[in-house]
Symmetry: D2
Subunit: 361 residues, 4 copies
C-alpha cells in the first residue's frame, strides 16, 4: 500500500533515508542461475554518485554496494537479493536551520502534511539519495535483459535549459554519452550546457532539461493491456523520479498537430522477412505493447527546487519567513539522472519480459 | 500479473472484449455504507458513449449500466461491485476483411505477437469500448470524493490539431465544458475544432489534440513516496488510455527553460491562516504528494490510428498489401475521452485518499 | 485489500451476494490459446448446486454458467474471463425474520460489526452461494492442469460425524466418489453417513466431517519459499471455505507423536531412474515445495451453523431473544463441498504452476 | 510472485540465506509516529535465538538487531523499516559433506528441483534462521497492537511427542510460559517434555509437538471475506513456518463429532451491555471475522527432519547412498518456535487491523 515497491514479476522494494543508516533495495523475482557482474553494478552507481565532477554536488559518498543476500559466487539463487549502501557522509547538522521552515517547491511541506512529523535530518525518502537503490536494481535488470535478448538501454541529456542537442538516434552509443560530464553525446551542445550549469551554480541557482531514452532490440509483445501498457509503466517509472514533470514517447506531444494519415507507421517486410514499420512515430509501442522497433521517449526535469538564493516561505507554524539553504546540492540533476532513467527503463522491461512468459503455456 | 487491475486500495478489475458478451468492471475496495446515485453513473457513460453527435462514431450502443453485486438499495455493502454493459450492436462481420491484415499503428500487430492469436471479431481489449468500464468505476470514485472532500474533477479539450483554446483555469466549470460537442469551454475555439474534425471525417482522416485536467479541493498529503507519487500514478493512468502519447503536470515540459529561482512556488499564509503557494508551477503536487493547490495536468492524444484512407501494410504471413478500413470510427477521440480522463483521475485520487488513511493510527 | 482476490499468477476476483443479481468471478491470468470445455465447467457447478439430492438444501437454482468475456469459440484469449450465474430463486422474504437477530455461530454478528450494516436479504457474501464462483474458476484451472501435466485432483468425504470411511489412496477414483450422494467412495460408510445426515435433517440439526484431498502427477518444484509454501497456500485455500475449522497435510496432527527417525521419508530411485520416497508422511510437500509424490491433505468442517432448532441469541440492539431459522438449508455441507475443495486445490496448483515458470529464464 | 512477502497493509518482505551476509526484513506499511521500544524487539529475538538452553542447537549467534531505515529516535517515520541481523557463526564447511546428497524430508531435494542449483552453503532460505526476520517484524506488530487495542498475544508448547499439558486458557500468562526452557506453562508436563527432548537429543533423534496460540482483547470485525478470512490468514501464517503440518482453530478437528446444536455458540449480553458468546467453539472467529472473544488455535509441528542418525537417501545423480548429518541442530524446534508463532499472529492481526480502517469512510 505504500509506494516503495515497483514491478510485479521483477519486483523491487526500496528503503532508506538520506541520513539514516543505509539506503538500498530488495529485489524479489530475479530468476535463479543468472551470472551477475558485481563490478558493473558498482559502475552504474558510480555514474550516479555525487562529487563526480564540478557540475554536481560536492557531497562525498563512496556509494559502495554491499550484497548481503540472494547472490552466491556471482550467481543468483532465485531468492531475494539484498543490496545496500551505507550512509557515510551524512551531516544532519547542515539541515538544522531547515528543520522549521519549508523549502519552496521541495517535498518538505507535503511530507509534513502527510506524515505529521518532520525527520530531524535532511530530506528523508524525498532525497535524491533514494535513487541509488533504483540504479543498483536496474543494473541487475540490465544484465538480465542483455543476456536474454541483447537489449541495449541508453539515455542521454538532450536539452538543458534553452540549449538543445542534435543527436542521431541510429548512431548514439554509450561511449559518446559518457565522454563528457553532462552526458550529452552532442559535444558542442554539451560544452554550452556545462557553461550554463556552472553559471547557474555560481549564482546559487538551478537548471532543468530533458533526458531522452532509447531501447534497442526489444522483442515484440512486451506490455500488458489495458492498464499496464508498456508506455504507461515507462511513464510511471519516469514520473516517479524526483523533479520529473513530463513524459512522452514516440511523436509525443508533437503528434497532436499531425493527421492520422501523416502519423501512422506503415508496415513493410524486410529482406529477412521480418516485419518493420517505415517510420517510428509510435516510439516502438503500439496499443501499449512493444512492436520490435526501438523504444524512444523523453523525460522533462524541472530545475531542482533546492537553490542557494534567499526565498520567501513559511515555517511549521505558518509564519511567513525567508529561507536561505546552505548544504551541498546539484545545480542541475540531469547528468546524474541519466543512469536513473536507464535503470527505471531496465526495471520496467525486465518486469514485462518476465510477465510475458505467462501469456502462453 | 495481467494489466487489468488498477489501484491498490480502491481497486478495479476490468474485463470484456469489444465484440463479446459484455464489458465491465469489478470494484473491490469501495467502503461500505456509501450512498450511490446510479443515474450519475449512467450520465457519465452517456458522455462517453458512441453516436452522441456528428463528430463521433455512428456505432449505436445504449451502454446501459447493470449493477449486479455490491450495491443494495443504492448503498454500497463494502463487497465487490460488479457493473457491466452488454454488447448490443456488435458487428464482427464488419471486421472480417481486417482479420488477416494489420492496421498501421493500431494494436493488431502487437496483440498478435503477444498472444499468438487474433480474435476473430474486432479489436478485443484494445478497443475504445474497454474504457466504459473505467468511466463506470470512475463515476463511483467521483461520488466518494465529492461526498468526503468536495473534490471537483474537470477535464476539457484544450487543443485539437493546430487549434488551441484559451481557458481561464479559475473559472472553468462543467456547464461550459458540456455546452458543445467538442467539450472545449472556449466557444470560438470549439467551433473551429468542430470544423476541423468534420473536415477530417470527410476525408476519412483523424485528428489528435490535448485534454487538460483540473482537480479542485484536493487535501494536502495524497500520494505515496517513492514510486507511487501522485504525479506518477496520474501519469500512468493517463498513459494507459488508448492513443495517449504524453503527460505533463504543472509547468510540465515548459519548466525546462526556467531557472529554479523562476519556477519555485513560494509559500505564504492567507487570511484564514492556511498555507498556499503564490504560483502553482508545481501543478498541485510537490515531491509526489498533493500540496492542497489545484492539480493541473495535460494529456496528449495522437490522431486515432483507424482511418478510412488506403494504407500500405502487411498481413499475418508478412506479405505486403494495402488496407482500407470500413467500420464505424471516431475521426477524433478527444470529445469522448474527456469523461475517461476525469474517470481515471477520480480512480487515482480515490485510491490515494483511502491509502492515506493508513499513514497514521 | 479486500479479500475477494485469490492467486497471484492465476488470479481470481469473485463477486456477488446470495440474493443480488448474480454471483461470479473474473479470472485474470489465464494463458492465451487454451481450449476450454464449457460443459465440464457446468458439470462441476452441477456437483455443487443445491437440490441435487435429499441430503442437500431444497433451494432450486439452475446455476447455469454464462461466460461473457475472455473466451471466444472455446479458446482463451489471454484476457480476463468473466463467468457468472444469475440468481433466480432468491427469496429475501425468507430472511426477513432474521433481519434483526444474530444467528449463533453464523457470520451475521461479525459482518454487522465489520460493515456497520446488515444486508436486508440473506447472508450476502457469507452465503455458501459465493462458492460457485470458486468452482467455476477451479474448473478452468483443472483443465489447464490436466492438459499441461495430466494432474488429477480428487476429493471425497472421508468422515461424517463419528462415521469414518476406509479408502485406499492408491485406488480411489472419480467414479467411486460420485456414485453416491455423500461423495464417499467407501459404500458402506456412505450409507451410514447418509442415514446420519437424514436423521440430523429431520431433527433440524446439522453434521460436520472431514474431506480428504488427493493430487496425483504433481511435478516436483511447485511452491514458493518462504510464506507461499504450497502447504500454506493449500491451507489458506481450504480455511477460506465456509465452516472449515482445520487443515492438515501428510501425517498432519498425527506426526507429533512420532520421532524424526520414524517420520522421515527416505529417498530411493525406481527402475526408471526417478527419485521417490519410500513413505509419504510429507504428503507430497517438503520445505513447502512439491516433491513429486501425491499430495494428500484433510479438511475439517464443523456442522453448519444454520440449524432449524430454537436457539438463544441477541438482536441488533443487544437484547436477548430466541431465534428459530426457517429457510432452506443443508443439514451437512460436505457432499456439496467436495467440488469446492477440488476447485480450491486446482486454483492453488494452477497458480503455482504458472509462478514456477518465472524461476528460471 | 515469489513468496517472500507477507501481509497487504502491514506488509513485510524478508530476505537472507542462512550462510550469506545477513538475514532480515523490510516492513512496508507501518504507520508514522509510533513509538517503538527497540529493546523489546531484541528480547523477542533472544527468545528465538539458538543456544539459549541445553535443549536447543549449540550454534552461537548474537542475533543482534540492526535498524538501518524507517525509525529515527525510536519513532517510526512511515517509511520502510529495514531490520537485519548479520550472520556471524556461519560455517559452510559443516555442510560440505551434505552438498551432494539429499537429507530425507528436508527441503534439499525440492529446492534442487525448483531452482536447478544447490547453494554451496547450508539450507539457504529453508533454514530456520529465516524466521528471525519474522520475529523482528512481529515484535513491531505486537507493539502496535498493544498500543492501539491492548491486544495480548500468547503462545506456548502444549504438547511434545506423547506428553500433553494441562493449561487454563483463562489464566495463562507470559511469565508462566517463560519460566522453563520448553515454554510450557504446565510445569510438570514441561519437566517431562524436557526429559523427552534430552533423550531424543542423545540418540540423535528429534521430536515434534503442538503449540497453542491465544489472543486476548481482539476487537470484533477483523478479517476479510471471502478468501482473507482471519482464520485463513492465520492458518497460512502458521503453515508457512518450517515443520508445521497442521492448523486448527476453536473446536478444530474435534468439531466434526459434534452436532450443530451442540457446537453453536449462543450469544448473550453481559452486565456492561457487551455482546458475548456463552461458549467459544468458534475460537473467536465467525464467518472468518473476529467476534471479540479470545482467538484460540493449535499448530502441529512434526519432529524436525534433520537428525544425526544414519538414513538411506540418494545423491544429486540419483544414486542411492547413506547420509549421516553432523552439524548443530535442534532436537525439538518447538520451544524456539513459540516466539515465531506469536510473531506470525501479530503480523496477521496488525495487517487486518490496518485493512479494517478502509471499510468505512
Amino acid at each position: 500500500m505504500r509506494g516503495n515497491t515497483f514491478g510485479k514479476a521483477f519486483c523491487i522494494h526500496t528503503f532508506g533515508e538520506s541520513h539514516g543508516g543505509a539506503v538500498g533495495v530488495v529485489i524479489d523475482g530475479c530468476p535463479a542461475g543468472i551470472s551477475i557482474n558485481i563490478d558493473d553494478i558498482q559502475k552504474e552507481l558510480d555514474r550516479r554518485k555525487p562529487g563526480q565532477s564540478e557540475i554536481t554536488t560536492s557531497r562525498k559518498e563512496q556509494d559502495k554496494i554491499h550484497i548481503l543476500a540472494g547472490i552466491e559466487q556471482n550467481i543468483t539463487l532465485g531468492t531475494p537479493i539484498l543490496m545496500l549502501v551505507y550512509n557515510e557522509d551524512a551531516n544532519p547538522k547542515e539541515y538544522q536551520n531547515l528543520a522549521q521552515v519549508f523549502r519552496p517547491s521541495h517535498a518538505d511541506y507535503t511530507y509534513f502534511k502527510k506524515y505529521g512529523l518532520k525527520s530531524i535530518s535532511g530530506g528523508g525518502r524525498a532525497s535524491a539519495r533514494e535513487t541509488l537503490a533504483r540504479v543498483a536494481a536496474g543494473a541487475i535488470a540490465k544484465q538480465i535483459l542483455q543476456q536474454t535478448c541483447n537489449i541495449q538501454i541508453l539515455a542521454w541529456v538532450s536539452q538543458i535549459w534553452h540549449i538543445k542537442s542534435n543527436v542521431d538516434i541510429n548512431k548514439v552509443n554509450p561511449h559518446d554519452i559518457e565522454k563528457n560530464p553532462v552526458r550529452c553525446p552532442d559535444e558542442i551542445a554539451a560544452k554550452c550546457m556545462q557553461e550554463a550549469i556552472l553559471h547557474a551554480k555560481n549564482e546559487g541557482n538551478s537548471l532543468g532539461g530533458i533526458i531522452t531514452g532509447l531501447v534497442r532490440n526489444v522483442p515484440a509483445g512486451l506490455g500488458e493491456p489495458v492498464f499496464d501498457k508498456l508506455s504507461a509503466d515507462l511513464g510511471k517509472a519516469m514520473l516517479s523520479i524526483n523533479a520529473v514533470k513530463g513524459f512522452e514517447y514516440g511523436a509525443g506531444f508533437d503528434s497532436v498537430v499531425f493527421k492520422g494519415s501523416e502519423l501512422n507507421d506503415e508496415f513493410y517486410t524486410d529482406e529477412q522477412g521480418k516485419i518493420h514499420t517505415k517510420t517510428n512515430h509510435s516510439g516502438g509501442i503500439q496499443g501499449g505493447i512493444s512492436n520490435g522497433e526501438p523504444i524512444i521517449f523523453r523525460v522533462a526535469f524541472k530545475p531542482t527546487s533546492t537553490i542557494l538564493m534567499p526565498q520567501n516561505t513559511v515555517d511549521m507554524q505558518g509564519k511567513e519567513t525567508e529561507i536561505q539553504v546552505k548544504g551541498r546540492h546539484d545545480p542541475c540533476v540531469l547528468p546524474r539522472a541519466v543512469p536513473i532513467v536507464e535503470a527505471m527503463t531496465a526495471l520496467v522491461l525486465a518486469d514485462h519480459y518476465l510477465r510475458n512468459k505467462l501469456i502462453r503455456l
